[in-house]
Amino acid sequence: MDLNVDIGSLRLKNPLIAASGCFGYGVEYAEVVNLKTLGGIAVKGLFLSEREGHNPPRIVETPAGMLNAIGLQGIGVHRFVAEKLPDLYSQGATVIVNICGSTIDEYVEITRILADADGVNAIELNISCPNIKAGGITFGNSAVGTSEVVQAVRSVTKLPIIPKLTPNVTDIAGIARAAEEAGADAVSLVNTFLAMAIDVETRRPALSNGVGGLSGPAIRPIAVRMVYECSQAVTIPIIGMGGIMTARDVLEFIIAGATAVQVGTANFVNPNLWPKLLADLKEYLSRHNIERVQDLVGTLELTETQVWNSS
C-alpha cells in the first residue's frame, strides 16, 4: 500500500500532518509521539522575533469546538533554528515551518533564514493571521494580498511554499487561484473562523482578546466544502484541515480533494492519535481496494443536480 503524497517537490510518507499551533514546536510531543512516523509537522507560527502573545484566558470551549486567541506567542525564527530545528531534524521529522509577518519584508526575511537552515522541508505562509494589515485588510483576505506575499517569498526560496488560507472570505477559491498563479506549490486550508463567545453573567468576552478563532469538529462541514471548492479551482495540491478527529474525517477531506490533511485541535484531545488514524486509513484503503492513497484524492462523485446552491 502506497501512502506517499507529493506536495510540490516534497514527498510525505503519509498524508497526516500535525497542524500549526496545535503541536507546539513538535519537540514537546517527542515523548508521546514517534515524530518521524508523521507525514509532517507544521510547527507553531513564527515571526522574525519573539512575541509575547495575548493575555489569558486564551481558549474557551464552544459546541463541538473551541476558540483560541493565543496571539502567536513564539520564540522567533532565530531561536527556532538554533534551539528546536536540530532536535526535529535528528528525530527524522518532516518539518513544515509556519511563518507570519507584519510586512512582506518580514515574510521574505524569515524565509531566507529558514532556506539556509538544515531540516526545513517546506514553508507554510500564515497569511490568515488577522494581525497583519495590508491596505486595511489582511493579506490573506484578498487575492491581491495573497499574490504579493507568495510572489515575494517565491523569489527567495526553492522550498515548497504553502500559503495557508483563511475561511473568513467570500471567495476562497479565487484566493487559492491567486496563490497558484503567484507560484505556490500547494495551499492549505482552513485556518480558524473569526468568532466570539460572551460570558453573559459578566457581559465580557470569554477570551481576553475579545475575539478568537473557531476550530474543531464544529467547522468541519464548512472546511470540507471549501476544500472541494478550491479543488475545482486549482491544480496544485490542497492540504485540508478543520475539525479532523478520526480517519473518517481524514477520508472526507481527501475525497473532497485534499492531497494531505492537517490535524489540529484533535491533538489536544488525544495527543497520540496518529497510529490509529494511520491504521484506520489503511484499513479503509484495503477494504476499498485502493492501492495508492493518491488515487483517492478528489474522488467525490457528483450527479448533475449537485451544483453550488443550497437551501
Binding site: E31, P56, P57, R58, N267
Partner: protein, 273 residues
Amino acid sequence: MPVDVDARVVSNIRLSDDYNVVCLDAPALALGAQPGQFVMIKPVTGFEPLLRRPFSIFEVLPTSNSAPTGFSLLNKRVGIGTEILYSVEVDQEIRCLGPLGVPFTLVGPPQEAWIVAGGVGLAPFLTLASALQQSGTPTTLFYGGRRSADLFYLDAFTQLGVELVLATEDGSRGESGLVTAPLERALTASVVSAKPTLYACGPTPMMRTVAGLAAAHGRPCQVSLEPVMGCGMGGCYSCVVPVCNSEDEPTHFVRACLEGPVFDSQTITWNRL
C-alpha cells in the same frame, strides 16, 4: 514519561454535594508520579466537552509499599466536566494522560513544611504530605474551606503526622475566616525557629496572599497554579502564566503545563495573573 491510558473507575466516593474522590486503576500512570504532578482526563467520549480537564493526582493507590495500582482524584463540581466526574460509575473507563508537569521540590529536616490549602486546593497535598513524612519533615497543614463540611481527609493527614490548622469562612470548624490569618500569625511568631518552606494551592487571591506573606517573611514558597489548560502537553499555549525570573528580565508568559503547575511564588508576576 507520560502515558495515555483507559483507566477503570474502581470507586466513586461522594464526600459532599460538590466533592467526590474517584479511584482509578492505572498502574502504568501511577508509577513514577510525583507530588504536584497532574493528569489530563477526558471525562466523556465525544465532544461534550471536547477538551480534557487537568486534575492533580490526589493519592497514589495503594499507599502501602507494594507497586502502585492506580491513583485517585479529588474532584469539585464547578462545570460540565467536573459534573460528569462527580457522577462516574464503577467500571466505567476514563482516558487519563499523565503524569504531567513539574512536581513540588521537597524539603527535608530540620526544615519544616507548611502547606496552605484552600478548598479543592487540597488535592496536590496528600501525596506531598506522605513524601514529606517519609523524610521525617515536620509538616503543618493550614486548610481553609467555606464550612466544616467542606474540609476533607483530615484523618488521613493526621495519620501522616501532619499538624492541622483549620479555618472556615462560617466559623463552623477551626478559626473563623480565611486560613491566611492563622498562617500570618504563625509566620510572625515562629519564622526564626521553624524555617518553614511554604506550599500553597487554592483560589488565586489566597495564593497571592500566601506569596506575599512568604516574601514579607523571607520564606521560600511553592505554589501550584490552575490555569485553563487545553492540552497539558505544551502544544497549545493556552495555560500560560506571567513569570519574571530575574530583575533584568521582563515578565513573559510560560506554559504552566510544562514549566509548572508548581512554581516558585517569587517568579510569578502576581498582578498580571
